[in-house]
Amino acid sequence: MTNNVRGPTSALTEFLRELGINHALIQRRGQRWQQQQAEAGPSNASTNANQDITNEEEQGGLPDSLTGEAAPDSDHLDSEEEVTTGKKRKLSKAALERQKASAKKKAKKNDDEDYKDNEEDAYTAKSLRENKSTNPKPSIGSLQKCSRCSKQFTMTKYTMAANPPPGYLCHSCAKSSGADPFKKPAAPRKRKSAAEKRTITNFQERKLPTLVFLCIKVISQHINDVEAFGDIGSVNLDRIVRALCRNRSLTPENATLFYDVRNKNINIYDGTRLEPPALTTLALLNPNLTSLRIDFCGHLNNAVLDSWSTSLPALTRVELLGPFLVRVPAWISFFRSHPGLKGFLLHQSPRFDLECMSALVTHCSRITELRLKEIGKLDDTFLPHISSLKYLEQLDLSSPGASCSDDSVISVLKERGAQLTHLDLSCHNELGDDFLKRGILAYTPHLVSLKLDNLPSLTDEGVAAFFHAWTPSVLSTLSIARAHDVGSHALPALLDCAWSTLSTLNINAWRDTTVESLVNIAKAQELRTLDIGWNRAVDNFVIKAILDGCPKLEEIKCWGCNRVTAECPRKLNVNLHGVESSVYVDAY
């Protein structure tokens, strides 16, 4: 019976609502007016009552409950709204009760209901009051006069209100007006469906926990009872760390499982949930660590690094991904307390600046492995410091904030190139063919790994000339991805240069390579992983040739090679990633 939807309202109603004029206000005002009238003289009031009666007689079909009560004053007769509010006033007792009930209902509601829901309910409640109080349906079974044909009829459940409003229609008039009296009101049904929807969402939230999740819970519960796990070898320990990190569920509680005084080496692949106290604990419980790696160590701050300065005296290699919070003084004191540091691998730190770099060089002169990847402040001024590291063997300066210049990188290679084994200068977009010739070709004969991804100024001829001239002794990893203009000449030269030792090759996005040169990759007998994504010429035959030719192959990535189809040949123990149409095959 209740109508929860507030229908279209007249401009006046809307206007009054905006001004905050409600029926209580009008009621008060009406009472004041009546008092004034009574003071003025009784004759006026009696005319008012008379007027009221005539008014009702004119309307004819007003419900029983309304007759015989005082109507609104003549002041407000001109507006429909005022009439309504007048009616409201008569019903104020019932309305009040309803209001109370709805308030109770609201109070019972949970706090977690979202804002939108609340708002919706608030609206509903309001319209409920209005509609109910304006249309009090006479009780079923009572006799009524039809407002159209003026015949008497009995009220039933299906009796419809006349439109325009005053009064009710008898069954035949209701039918003839085109409306179906037996039609169920639409609004309640809508409401129901909303409720159903809500229960469905609740149902979907109930998902069975995964086995891994359950296991981690059990492990965390029994973490203090280390005996229950039995003796765990270091290999298994690493597997467990990986499993926990993969689910981002390495917490301060279960991390203690991996701590031991005898530990020399800890790798944490996801330290997102390790907060500063936990990281301090790590150092205190593993005082003999020589190598420490923490990925996603966003919680690492100055205080933790300061505690490491004292509690990890034996540390020689530290690898951190994302220590954003550590500031310059903390880095400097860390370097000062670890003069024996041999490996410093830092990935993503916006605060690491020239001062830190000079402190690193001053205090840790025995660095052999240096990574400053995605360091925003890295620029040419860092490079003289780097070249003064006498024992440097592995250097990674990829993805800097701004590219270093040709000449300054070459000067580093001139100093340290002879002993360098690993070099990564990806994303230094100022480096081009000239750098290859004057830098790498001239000074780095012993490179094992060379990564020069995303150097857009490389040209096909320049790279080809470089590989023709270069004779690296043990190059095993080569990555020159995303060099769009390199291809048809450079690839044969590359293979001639390094085919015998190459185990990892990435020539992603070498757009113009030819089938003939790609097939030649097959002669690289040591090849294990290969990325030939976005090489347009790669097709099933190229894949087949490579699979047949490289006995040690483990992985091929061929994303974006449209000519490779689902029918392309496979080989046991070789993962082939990025075959486009195989997605559709799997779907069947």
Partner: protein, 100 residues
């Protein structure tokens, strides 16, 4: 694929590293992503022979199969139905191995 296979009503054998084997209905085995991949590809030996080797010792494999059965029976359960906690059935001794 026969109709029996489509209904998940035929039997699959899951073998452990140390020679034990567990026979379960196909629709139970399919609760595991790994086993599903093994069984779905038509030309895999596992799919043809209906035998899936699991590289774990028997105790762990048994618990794994038990979980699959648990998942199969409660995955589509009524929302108001009480779902027992599987965590109670995992012995802490094998939890780590199960996790890996």
């Amino acid at each position: 694929m026969s109709s029996q296979q489509q209904q998940g009503d035929d039997w699959i054998r899951i073998t452990s590293k140390d020679g034990f084997s567990f026979v379960v209905k196909r629709n139970v085995a399919l609760r595991s992503g790994t086993l599903r991949n093994m069984l779905d590809e038509h030309n895999f030996a596992e799919a043809v022979q209906k035998v899936c080797p699991v590289d774990e010792r028997a105790a762990v494999t048994e618990k794994f199969v038990e979980y699959l059965a648990y998942k199969a029976s409660y995955e589509n359960a009524n929302p108001n139905e009480e779902i027992p906690d599987f965590g109670e059935r995992i012995a802490p001794e094998i939890a780590l191995e199960l996790c890996v």
